[in-house]
Symmetry: C2
Subunit: 399 residues, 2 copies
């Protein structure tokens, strides 16, 4: 009954525009039209017309030509700054934020308001975020930029098909429909996503091209809950409803302590922030860097607790790697700062428990993008949609 859509002539244009846009934006150094022709296999003529359209639409810019060697100097192309931008929004346990990023990856404008939101009213908080977001949008639009889309990151189970938040245990929210409460301008495409998943996407696009994560990795974000995101060849693997990556509820020991989710022995009860803060006698709302400092300077008892956490984390990661055959694990959230403490136990677990480890060891590293990564990830996701389908923007620029 159903099937993939037909390929019209226009599909060629769409695909080739996307290919060119992506090549320029993902390139470590500016490419010329000739470079693009060489690396995409298109003719120089084709590339020229495509580039002209992308420049016209404000997605790319021509840099001043620099002569080097014989022959006519090439015109280097680069993503356009401050023309088309993406908006990332986030409500998390200890802050509220919005960030606008442009195609160069630069942060154009942002706000981050610290303060615990545990147990806050979903309606009030989202209305407040909406107010701040509308201000941010107004500022950015008054500077002549066009906003491609908005993504709201929430620390919980989000149904990506319906944009409904099912439950966010650490906020105390459940069954919320966030987008109407934000009251974003009509016509601005907006979606809701899980915080860890958007943070993972920031690792792909949110930093200079040369420092980017490899295109396939498992991102593990430690907070009160433990979220994970599976990224395969640059694509987030969300699962049927976007509920993939619930690493925090992998079973470490079925006879273990009871978890808030109703099951027993979940990873969260061994390696969640709640356990870590208790080990050094701190409160749950302590800042990540304080917690990291205290754990790093702690005595043997607390060190043992970190080792337990690391072993549990390693076991859960080994399960994930055995299932998914992924060879890179990036640690985010609190874990980023704890990599020196955690890595030995984690890698030991991975070495012994991953079936393929003798042939291809698993790499464990801190996530390169750390500061409010989900904001960047959300903004970048909107921009990736533009890059993946620049046609509407060209039509808009022409008409």
């Amino acid at each position: 009954m159903t099937s993939t859509g037909p390929a019209r002539q226009a599909s060629l244009r769409e695909r080739n525009l996307a290919t060119i846009a992506r090549a320029v934006i993902d390139a470590p150094d500016p490419l010329s039209r000739a470079d693009l022709a060489a690396c995409t296999g298109m003719t120089r003529a084709t590339v020229s017309t495509l580039v002209d359209q992308l420049v016209e639409a404000g997605l790319l810019t021509e840099l001043p030509a620099v002569a080097s060697g014989p022959g006519r100097p090439a015109v280097p192309l680069a993503p356009a700054a401050r023309t088309v931008v993406g908006l990332g929004l986030e409500v998390n346990v200890d802050y509220l934020g919005g960030r606008v990023v442009d195609l160069t990856g630069a942060i154009v404008d942002e706000f981050v308001i610290a303060g615990t939101l545990r147990g806050s009213s979903a309606t009030a908080t989202l209305r407040r975020l909406g107010h701040l977001a509308r201000d941010l949008i107004a500022r950015v639009e008054s500077r002549g930029m066009r906003i491609a889309g908005a993504h709201l990151a929430l620390p919980g189970l989000v149904d990506t098909r319906t944009n409904l938040l099912r439950i966010a245990p650490n906020l105390g929210w459940s069954d919320v429909e966030p987008l109407p409460l934000l009251g974003l301008p009509a016509g601005l495409p907006a979606t809701v996503g899980n915080e860890a998943k958007l943070a993972a996407l920031a690792q792909l696009w949110g930093c200079p091209v040369t420092e980017r994560a490899s295109r396939t990795f498992l991102y593990v974000s430690g907070d009160v809950g433990i979220g994970a995101a599976i990224v395969i060849d640059g694509e987030l693997f969300g699962g049927r409803r976007g509920w993939s990556g619930e690493l925090g509820h992998i079973t470490i020991d079925p006879a273990g302590p009871r978890c808030g989710c109703g099951a027993t022995g979940c990873l969260e009860r061994y390696a969640g922030k709640e356990v870590l803060v208790t080990d050094v006698g701190l409160g749950i709302d302590v800042a990540d860097d304080v917690l990291v400092d205290r754990l790093s300077a702690a005595d043997d008892a607390a060190r043992a607790a970190v080792t337990t956490a690391g072993a549990a984390l390693g076991q859960a990661m080994a399960d994930a790697v055995n299932l998914l055959d992924i060879d890179t694990v990036l640690l985010g959230g609190v874990y980023t700062g704890l990599v020196p403490l955690l890595r030995p136990t984690i890698t030991e677990q991975l070495r012994t428990r991953v079936l393929g480890a003798p042939w291809a060891p698993v790499d464990v590293a801190p996530a390169p993008v750390a500061n409010h990564a989900a904001l960047t990830g959300g903004a970048a996701t909107s921009l990736r949609a533009v890059v993946a389908d620049p046609m509407p923007w060209i039509a808009a620029a022409a008409g």
Copy 2:
């Protein structure tokens, strides 16, 4: 540096041919050219030329027109029988086989030779299989069929990029390069794959369209080892090297018994065939149906052991579902027959341990294709490649 290839004019043809071929082959009832135009969105003119080429190439056939209602009767189109075929080969612990399947899904010819191959010589066994396969190929080609490709299924860790078998514990094989040993005709595209993964693909394509598995599921195959395959929207998720799905080495209890892989408490030690046969005092080489009968008729002690296995299986599946957000689990291998015994404990585990279960319960069912599924899966995989890119076959038919 790299990027997706350019979209040439020919790409349109390629894509539209694939769309048409797939629509006809996956349709529950024969479609006419007009039906195809309606469901793909192409014009009738376009569909006509594409269909003509596919018929010419021997991928589709026109059935006799049946009049029903006013108007010119439609010409129903169906996959062509016995024109282009795929070859599946398999070496497993207790048999050796080859199967040829055509585009209608019918088995055209096959051989299955029972007998334990545990501890056999890889070289001798693969040479023997190669001999049998060449006979099969000769028979099929003498009947005028063209073989699109061959897939060899092996019960072990196969590197799908290099077609190397790293290790097959239950055969006692390691570091084998199987394809040269088979000595298949030069020019026949051949690859090696994991047995459970190819069996999973058979669930998608190896049975009448109406009985097919949903396009997203986790296939769990119980044998001496426990293999799994992740299928997302009709695509096998193989991971970086094709080593995904090692469910058998998910940790059930870190303090559990030592496993052959070197780790402790792996699922295999709770729910593998080795444990099950021991429970009812049988040998490891017993046929699956005998084992199922004995377990079904067993006393309380053995029943308790099956329950333990089911709980462990359920726990591992819950881990997988939490990670992947998949809502269907198909049980293959020995487990197919044990579904009545296993399901209660499995579903109980899934209900309590899967975070999303309250909103979307996980369905556990026996795999619809059971008999030597990996053979069918291997053959079908070759055919899917033809359907996904029919162009070369059209060129061959024309030239």
